[in-house]
Symmetry: C2
Subunit: 350 residues, 2 copies
DNA sequence: TATTAGCACTCCCACTCAAAGAGTGCTAAG
DNA sequence: CTTAGCACTCTTTGAGTGGGAGTGCTAATA
C-alpha cells in the first residue's frame, strides 16, 4: 500500500512532529531525512500521503501533521524493533524493585514513577487472585450467628470478613468446619476444590448445612470476586505539556481518571492478553479521548493480574514511553533480578 | 481600626469581586451597596483602604481587588453569622448519609461530593483509632516463629499482621497469651490497660517473655501507630475555574495533592482543634500556596479523628463553601439523623 | 518517466496604531 | 464632609500591515 519511500516520509514526519510539535515542511524532511531527494519530490509524496489520509495540513502553506493512521505505522515500526531501557532512569527502577514485596505498594509507586519519567499520566490496576491457594482457614464466632471468616493465602495475602450466617453455629462446629475445609483445600487451588468441598463439609455438619453453604459462598466472594483495584499517578505532570493547553479536554481526562469505572473500562478494553498494547487516538471508541494515546501492559505479579500503563497526548514520545513501560513491567513481574533489563516483555500484541 | 463605613466598603468589594472576578469600581459600590453615598465618596474611602492594605489596584484606572487582609475580615464576618445548608445539595447529603457505616468510604465519597458541589478540590483525612477497644484477640501460629496477630475492635474494624517473634511459641502458649490479653483488655481502652498487661502476661508465660513482649509491641503498632489516611477528590473541577488559568500554579497544587506528606502537613497545620478553620492565601507559610484558601473541619467519626476540607482559589465562594463543608462534616459525624441539618458544627475556631 | 529548480501564491503571525471604555484623582463648589 | 465635574491614565479591542514559511504548479532536466 505504501511505497518504500512513502513509508520513510511518514516515519520522518511523525518523528519530527513528535520532537518539535510544529507542522513539518517538505524542506525539513529533505534536509534531515531523505537527503538524496529535493524538497519538491517530498512535496509530491506528501500530497499523495495527504490524499490517502496519512498526513494532514492545518491550512494551505503550513507543513504536514501526522494523522492517527500515521502514528499507527510509526508505533508498529517501533514495536517491531528491539528497545533498551533508558539508562538515566535506572535509579527509579532500583527503587521500584525494593518495593516489590508488596504488589499494591509497588504499583502505586510505579504510577508515580511512570508519570515522573515520561511526564504523562501513570496508570495501574491490580486484579483478583488468579488461582488463590489457601494456607489457613479460621472461623471465629463473634456473636449470635455472626462469624469472622479469616483466610490466609499462599503468598501472605490475608482476607477477612465479618459475616452473618443463616443459623447460629457453636465454636466447636466452626472448628470442625475449618478443619474439614483445611483438609481438602489447603495447598490446592480454590477453583479446583470448591466444587467438591460442599458435600464433604455437609457430610459431617448436616444440621448446619445451610450455614456451611453460606460460609463457603462468603469464601468465594473473598477469594474470587475481589474487584480490580486502580491507581493513577503523576497526573500533574501532564499540566505542563503544550498539547494539553486546552483545559476543557484536560478536565475530561482528569474526571475520567477519578472514577474507577472508567479506568476499569480502559483496562478491560486495552489489555486482555499479556504483553504491551498501544491505543492511538480514537482507536478505542468507548473512551471519548481523541488526541490521546494509551499504553497498557499486563503481567502476573504475586499471583494476581497486574496492569501498568500510560496515558498521554497522541503526540507522545512512543519510543521512550514504551521502553520505560516495559522496564517497569519487567520489574514488577519480577524479572531483571540479576541486572539484565532490556529483554523484558517481549510478547507484543495489538 | 476600620470605621463602620470602611467595613461596609470592604465587605462589598469582597462580595462583588467574588461574584464577578473583575476589579470593583467605586460606581458599582455606590450604586449597589452604599446607596446613600456617591461614587466620589466611595473613592475617597477606597484610597484610604488601599493605604491600609485592605484593597489593591492592579493599575491606575482599574477598580479595586481585595487583599488577603480583606478576605479575612469578610470570612470572619461570615463565620459570626448563622448559616444554612444549601438546599439544592440535599440529595448528595442523603447519599453520603447512606455510606456512613464505613467511615473510609464515606470520606472518599465526601471528597468527591465536596469537589462537585463547590467545584473546588475536596480533601479528607482519617486518623488512627483514638481509644481503641479490643473485642477479640487471636494469635495463630503460621510457622516457625511466625504468628498471625488478629485484632477485632469494637465498632467492627479488624487489624491483622503476620509477624516474626524472637522465639517460637506453641499454639497452646499462644492461646494462653490471647486468653490472658483478653481477660484484661477486652472491653477496655487499650491505652489504659497496655501498661499493666505486660507483667500479667509474662507472669504465666515466663519462658516466652521475650516473644510476648514483642507481640504486645506489635499490637501497639497495629492499634496506635496507624498513620493518617488521606483522600482527595474532584480535582478536575478546579480546571474549569478562571482563577486557575495559570497552569504553573495549578501544577504545583496538583503535585502537592499527590503526596500524602503534604496533605499531612496541611491537615496538621490547619486543624488541631475540633471545628472549622479557614486559612486564606499565605496565612499558612509552610504551604507554598498563595492565591489559594483552605477550609478544614474536623470531628470524630467511628472513634477516629476525621477531617474534611476544601481547597480553592482565594477568590472562593466562602459563604457557600463553609455551609456545604459544615453540612458534610455534620453528616459524617452522625448528626442530622432526624432531618435537621442547619445547626451542625457550631464551634468555630481560628 | 521521475526529478528538480523556480516562482507566484496563500495563509498565519506578530506588530503597530488608534479609538473606545472604564475608572481614577483632583479640584472646587455646595 | 460630600459631591459634581473633568482631565488623565491605562487596558482592551480591532483593523491594518509586512515578513516568513511552505505550498502547488510549471517548465526544464537527467
Amino acid at each position: 500500500m505504501l511505497s518504500e519511500r512513502q513509508l520513510e516520509v511518514v516515519l520522518a514526519v511523525v518523528y519530527e512532529y513528535i520532537k518539535t510539535g510544529e507542522p513539518v515542511g517538505s524542506r525539513t524532511i529533505a534536509r534531515k531525512f531523505l537527503k538524496g531527494r529535493s524538497a519538491a519530490t517530498i512535496r509530491n509524496e506528501m500530497a499523495d500521503l495527504e490524499e490517502s489520509e496519512y498526513l494532514y495540513q492545518p491550512h494551505t502553506s503550513a507543513g504536514r501533521i501526522p494523522t492517527p493512521k500515521a502514528y499507527r505505522v510509526y508505533v508498529d515500526a517501533i514495536l517491531r524493533r528491539q528497545r533498551s531501557f533508558p539508562s538515566e532512569s535506572e535509579g527509579w527502577i532500583k527503587e521500584l524493585r525494593e518495593r516489590r514485596k508488596d504488589v499494591e505498594e509497588a504499583l502505586i509507586y510505579a504510577t508515580r514513577l511512570l508519570g515522573r519519567i515520561t511526564s504523562y499520566i501513570g496508570l495501574a490496576a491490580l486484579g483478583p487472585e488468579r488461582e488463590p491457594v489457601l494456607e489457613r482457614v479460621e472461623f471465629l464466632r463473634m456473636g449470635h450467628s455472626t462469624v469472622l471468616i479469616l483466610l490466609v493465602l499462599k503468598g501472605g495475602l490475608i482476607h477477612h470478613k465479618i459475616s452473618t450466617l443463616p443459623c447460629d453455629m457453636t465454636q466447636e462446629a466452626l472448628d470442625e468446619l475449618s478443619r474439614r475445609v483445611s483438609t481438602v483445600a489447603v495447598g490446592r487451588s480454590w477453583g479446583e476444590v470448591r466444587g467438591t468441598l460442599q458435600a464433604y463439609v455437609e457430610d459431617a455438619l448436616e444440621r448446619y448445612a445451610e450455614s456451611c453453604r453460606s460460609a463457603l459462598n462468603e469464601m468465594d466472594g473473598l477469594l474470587l470476586e475481589q474487584p480490580f483495584q486502580f491507581f493513577t499517578g503523576g497526573t500533574h505532570n501532564v499540566l505542563g505539556l503544550p498539547d494539553f493547553n486546552d483545559l476543557g479536554r484536560l478536565q475530561t481526562i482528569m474526571a475520567l481518571l477519578e472514577e474507577d469505572e472508567s479506568i476499569g473500562m480502559l483496562v478491560r478494553s486495552c489489555s486482555t492478553e499479556k504483553g504491551l498494547r498501544v491505543t492511538i487516538g480514537d482507536e478505542n471508541p468507548e473512551l471519548n479521548m481523541p488526541d490521546c494515546s494509551i499504553l497498557m501492559a499486563s503481567t502476573i505479579a504475586g499471583g494476581r493480574k497486574a496492569v501498568v500503563g500510560l496515558i498521554g497526548p497522541m503526540r507522545m514520545d512512543y519510543e521512550r514511553s514504551i521502553s520505560v513501560l516495559e522496564g517497569v513491567l519487567g520489574t514488577i513481574a519480577g524479572k531483571g533480578e540479576n541486572g539484565e533489563n532490556g529483554e523484558s516483555a517481549k510478547e507484543v500484541h495489538r
